[in-house]
Symmetry: C2
């Protein structure tokens, strides 16, 4: 009997879980906000409880084999099942996540970085289907990435590879949460877009952006900067143009290092695709070598919000 | 019977070839200057002739199986055996190198990028022995690199991956031969060191460097800048310090993307190790995440000038 899969996507603001069939359909899924008010451990307890309920309700009694895959933001030591660092769970650094979950849930569980899960989801059912050499990038609150080499996700020696968001693009650039400066993440993330909107506001620019924030620039979201861009706000348009150029520099590095067939870009910021992709492809064209440039396709997510669930389920499917 | 291997390292100024035993010893090797005076094709004809002589003289009559591996600078399309671009052989762009050689030499031949060969040589017999996740960097006239993932060199979809030298570190930096700006190569190569010496000279700095060039700064080599550093020339010391910092930025990117156990650094510029490695490790310490930084060792080549021959032979050994 084929296993039934549960894919879980632990994001920065929401948790999504879905029943996934071995051929990649999602007959049932739920989404609920991630409650961080009582800290990371309480959040984990909540996750376990929700997951137990979901399994019981959705999988029926006669399923002999269930496997669970969980994608979670952060640097994961896959060998030891540790959450080494996590941007959303600062009180759980070094947390033995795999063991914690496995003690509470009787079905086999595997954890994976959320951007790796996104990447695998796109390779399984989305924009990189059939590709054996590709990269995935998630433009969310932060910037995540996954690298597939010869059909396998690149984990590196400890499972912490593929940290695309922390490539240095400008050594004197703004400070990043990782301790570095001028990483891709400070330019191409939702936080980076907000930062640029704040900086523009200080110079008296971006009136439509300010309006979106109901007069308080500090409350403006990256989605609202995008809204302002759609309405033709010149500052907002400039912000996405600049963001696209830095993203392009990041892609140049990925192309030189990995010679991929495809680069799939997802995450909420990728919804502003038409507002940044022009400058991205321009930079890629200017700065890569001909042989490499000709082959690579830069494409938008096809799985959208489901990519994380699909990829987490895929990891569980491939569990040995 | 085990195959006898011939490893060939086609560098920018010299060609080295060696007989290599299947356990990685080099009982015999030769080195001769690369003659580019009559163009790339004449150089190739010379290489074939030398190689034929070398095989005849050194391998005896009773060897039933001989395999030849050739490491050569440039972007190589391994699927089709093409030399897509090569810094030293500008007139051979797109040249069908594999077919050309195989038509002239009856033993099996495999071509590989020279920095990949260096990297594999270090993994086989040198500083990365036993490691399954590591990177190799060659600091020569240019900067090359090789990435090993799960024990295999990363070729990417067309065999053009691992172009470490063309990671963008500073988007407004000096123009690079690849068409980009501020690539690792413009900072950490021998050419980059010469460029900095010239720039310093224009400002009236680096008297000992100028002296090494017998009064003509344009004739100064990167080795001579190193000599001046050893004699305490402050400008030369500063040049290597700065070069080390950019190299560090490159390593930060490799560590974030590949989570390697080791990074092995070779090439002629690496001989100035003690003059740049301090600032390199400082930058790596400042800009990488704890979990990744703790694991990685940054080490100097152990095979030295033999790494290329060994790695090319290793590729031939693994030929299926």
């Amino acid at each position: 009997m084929e296993p039934l899969l549960i894919g879980v996507d632990v994001g920065g603001t929401n948790i999504r879980m879905g029943v996934v069939t071995p051929d990649g359909h999602i007959p049932k899924k739920i989404e609920y906000p991630m409650d961080m008010s009582r800290g990371g451990l309480a959040m984990m307890e909540g996750l376990v409880s929700r997951l137990q309920d979901f399994i019981q309700q959705e999988t029926g009694r006669d399923r002999s084999e269930i496997r669970i895959g969980i994608g979670i933001a952060g640097s994961i030591d896959m060998k030891r099942g540790l959450l080494v660092t996590s941007p959303n769970l600062p009180d759980l650094h070094g947390f033995p996540l795999q063991a914690y979950l496995q003690e509470r849930i009787s079905y086999p569980i595997i954890i994976e970085n959320d951007a790796n899960a996104f990447t695998l989801g796109e390779g399984w059912k989305g924009a990189a289907k059939g590709s054996r050499h590709y990269c995935g990038i998630t433009l969310g609150t932060g910037v995540g990435g996954g690298i597939v080499v010869e059909g396998e996700i690149l984990h590196g020696s400890e499972g912490m590879g593929g940290e695309v968001g922390h490539m240095v693009l400008n050594p004197k650039g703004p400070l990043c949460g990782c301790g570095g400066r001028g990483c891709l993440e400070v330019y191409a993330s939702g936080s980076g877009i907000r930062r640029r909107a704040l900086e523009a506001n200080k110079k008296g620019k971006g009136k439509k952006i300010l309006k979106k924030g109901r007069g308080d620039i500090k409350k403006v979201t990256s989605e609202e900067v995008f809204e302002a861009a759609k309405e033709g706000d010149r500052t907002a348009l400039k912000i996405f143009n600049e963001m696209g150029r830095y993203l392009g520099l990041g892609l140049v590095n990925l192309i030189h290092l990995f010679n991929p067939e495809k680069i799939v870009i997802g995450g909420k910021v990728s919804k502003a695709w038409d507002y940044f992709i022009g400058s991205t492809t321009e930079v890629v064209h200017q700065r890569t070598m001909k042989g490499q440039r000709e082959k690579v396709q830069i494409v938008q997510t096809e799985c959208g919000d489901d990519a994380g669930i699909l990829g987490a389920a895929y990891v569980a499917l491939k569990l040995e």
